[in-house]
């Protein structure tokens, strides 16, 4: 997983899978990387081929963390169709801004 800071933007990419094995680490690393200046968090899911409920839980935890910080936007970028299906199945696509670029 790669985390890059670009001004007010925090970009998280190269996530191959998001499961019970790495979801805590994923959540903690992003939380640590967030600063008071962070306005946008973009999670690039274009390389994420597998996600389970722990991964969904990590995304939800991140969502909760961002709504506590008013004005912070959380975006999911380019999810593969299977992950998009999972987000729709769990109705979590309603929580996130899902963007295709």
């Amino acid at each position: 997983m790669k985390i890059e800071r670009d001004g007010e933007r925090l970009c998280v990419s190269e996530i191959n899978e998001l499961t019970a094995a790495n979801s805590s680490n994923f959540r903690d690393e992003i939380n640590s990387a967030m600063t008071g200046a962070t306005v946008v968090i973009e999670i690039d899911l274009s390389k994420t081929l597998f996600m389970d409920s722990s991964g969904l839980g990590a995304l939800f935890a991140l969502y909760r963390a961002t709504i506590k910080r008013e004005g912070v936007v959380l975006r999911l970028l380019n999810p593969v169709p299977e992950i998009e299906q999972l987000l729709e199945l769990t109705q979590m696509q309603q929580l996130f801004e899902v963007v295709r670029r």
Binding site: F50, M51, D52, S53, P81, E82, E84, Q85, L86, E88, L89, T90, Q91
Partner: protein
């Protein structure tokens, strides 16, 4: 009168439908394709039906038996390939014998449902959904006593359990022994096959839920073919194998045994020895078994 049915073979566009058996035995509104066709041909007067089965002949035989259920005699013949209609006519009824049903019912390729020749079943998942949705009003034949139309466009199996606090939106079909729990929204365009469970506040729309499938609470199945733990978006063909059984999973005994390692421990119980109803209960479904239908207000 005689008739001949040709079982379809090519499942390349719809592989999930052929995982449990040949396409002719794919479950449709409480029965299977071949059974629906036998029933139709029997209504038209057929008394002797030959079924050509290029694959899975034993499963086809199991699905139709000897035909006594419809008052016909059925013989299932194994074939090495799927003959075209013309090839079958040339071989079995070249002279157009008077003891055969009139065309086109003398020889039928089961690539569509009775009465829906323009709606192919197996060319894509989108076609599968379109054909089943169109066929819903035609599925309630006099021979089918386990399902009734309770309101216009809403069909429910006689042993289904439907919470009075659920919402059913026409058209929808809830199969025999299926369960729809409180707060669930089923329809429009939803087909829940036999023995499936729709969990609390789950939403099903424009989708087909295969038999013995558990749809977990708060999940949303839209524009999909859902069978066991497989979820297919019929618009895009995207296939997702849902990893968490509390979201979407199979309730059939064989699947339970196969997935014991994965989620048996999560249930804190001896899953392989559990019966389907016990597992469904553990996952949040109501108690299984026959009961009266409770219609939502």
């Amino acid at each position: 009168m005689k008739a001949l049915l040709i079982c379809p073979v090519d499942s390349t566009a719809v592989p999930r439908l052929a995982e449990s058996g040949p396409l002719a035995t794919a479950p449709i509104l409480g029965d299977c394709v071949v059974a629906h066709w036998v029933e139709r041909l029997a209504e038209l007067g057929a008394r002797q039906i030959e079924v050509i089965a290029p694959d899975g002949a034993d499963q086809v035989r199991k699905a139709v038996g000897d035909g006594a259920r419809w008052g016909v005699r059925i013989n299932v013949t194994v074939s090495r390939f799927e003959p075209t209609r013309q090839e079958a006519v040339d071989k079995y009824n070249p002279a157009g014998g008077p003891d055969w049903l009139p065309a086109p019912y003398d020889v039928v390729e089961m690539s569509h449902l009775p009465g829906c020749p323009g709606l192919p079943l197996f060319e894509s998942y989108a076609n599968w959904i379109a054909a089943l949705t169109a066929w819903m009003p035609l599925a309630l034949t006099p021979a089918r006593v386990r399902v009734s139309q309770v309101r216009p466009g809403i069909w429910i199996g006689s042993r289904a359990q439907v919470s009075p606090n659920s919402e059913l939106i026409a058209p929808c079909w809830i199969g025999d022994r299926a369960s729809v729990e409180t707060g669930a929204v089923v329809g429009p365009g939803a087909i829940i096959e036999d023995r499936s469970v729709v969990g609390t506040t789950a939403h099903i729309a424009q989708s087909w839920v295969g038999p013995d499938t558990f749809v977990g609470r708060m999940t949303s199945v839209a524009n999909s073919v859902a069978w066991g733990s497989t979820l297919i978006d019929w618009r895009t063909g995207s296939v997702l194998h849902v990893p968490d059984p509390f979201l979407l999973s199979s309730l059939s005994e064989s699947k339970i045994a196969a997935t014991t390692d994965r989620f048996g421990r999560a249930l804190g119980a001896k899953a392989p020895t559990r019966k389907r109803t016990e597992l469904a209960k553990a996952m949040g479904a109501p108690r299984g078994g026959a009961s009266d239908v409770n219609l939502p207000a």
